[in-house]
Symmetry: C2
DNA sequence: TTGAATTTAGAACAAATGTACTAAATTTCA
DNA sequence: TGAAATTTAGTACATTTGTTCTAAATTCAA
């Protein structure tokens, strides 16, 4: 039955392993259905990519919801939430490995991402001020620096996978560990008492 | 004469403006020569991309040479050299906007880049230790944090353009200014006396 | 159970693309 | 100047790709 879901799963697997130039024929063949059938469920290739991006955003929103319910924010919870978000990044890694091309091909995705970033920027900045007030972060950091830190975090988040792909090519757990260490280090010089 | 150079210039312009899916027919048409002629000079499309990448690396090496000749290193020279390197990044921006795809299509490029990163990592770390010794940077930063900072700088360097393309889409001078501010902010919390 | 709706496979089509081939034009240089 | 080398335009071809179409098969519902 839910062929539509199976198509998404097969597409995600192939996009992650073979890149964004994977064709609908390849996807269909990989799950032993016809290309005609695939296009019955998703008229355009980009519809598949758009749907996968929507699932990604939904998973991120789910994570963010969890974090905010958790009550008070500590450095430990922040780090844990980076770890969880990496799992999502990695699951949908083909999107980040080909982000500009996907954003150009599917403008809906670019627009949605643009809005997502704007939303998250405010949340993160508020969080940092909270942690500074709580004595976890330094109190002598000017506002523009906090803003810049948020952007740095986003860039490292969304493009660490690309850098990794072009250099060390760590996989799975090793990738997660290297990423986690890098994000931790990003916050280190802002700590009130290192 | 020098049709080979003209092809590179036309290709760079089109890749930057239309993306990596630009075809040899488009490139040839944009400079009013035949596709046959273009392929006489560059047998394979990827040869053009490879050559452009080589020029990029050469320009970077040129910059690094300048910096090292300049004698003692200050925060001001470091910042100036970031500014210059942005000009090169921007000139060849299509490479960074489609880095993973290019690296996959042309393994030579991925390998060359991998080596470049390893080389630069050592240079940057030495530089930071030098600036810490000179009292510009803090002396209480552990070694892994300096290593992480170098990686952060590389990611921001190589992928700021992608982030910009997916969000604000700043061009020219505005792009350069936003980039410069972000890199400056990256170093801020490491300063001995902010 | 039977008729309608849905799903499927497979063929077919048009556009795009990289590149090879050929013959003409142009340049080089002895 | 005239032959050889280089450069150029244009055509042609094979492949790939997204998508549509048709008819058969399957599922669903009354």
């Amino acid at each position: 039955m839910d062929t539509k879901e199976k198509i998404l799963a097969a597409a995600l697997k192939l996009y992650n392993s073979k890149g964004i130039n994977t064709t609908t024929r390849h996807i269909a063949a990989s799950m032993s259905i016809s290309a005609g059938n695939l296009h019955y469920h998703y008229k355009h290739t980009d519809d598949i990519i758009r749907t996968l991006y929507e699932k990604l955003e939904a998973e991120f929103d789910g994570l963010m919801g969890n974090v905010q319910e958790e009550g008070e924010m500590s450095l430990a919870t922040l780090n844990r939430s980076f770890g969880q978000s990496f799992q999502v990044l990695y699951k949908y890694r083909f999107i980040f490995l080909h982000f500009v091309e996907i954003g150009t091909r599917v403008p809906d995705i670019r627009n949605a991402y643009h809005q997502l970033v704007k939303r998250r920027e405010a949340e993160f900045k508020a969080l940092f001020y909270q942690l500074a007030a709580a004595g976890v972060f330094r109190k002598d950091i000017p506002d523009e620096i906090w803003s810049a830190l948020v952007t740095q975090i986003f860039i490292v988040n969304d493009y660490w996978l690309s850098m990794n792909e072009m250099t060390d090519r760590l996989k799975g757990k090793e990738a997660a560990a290297a990423y986690q260490q890098l994000v931790n280090a990003l916050l280190y010089p802002y700590l009130a008492k290192p």
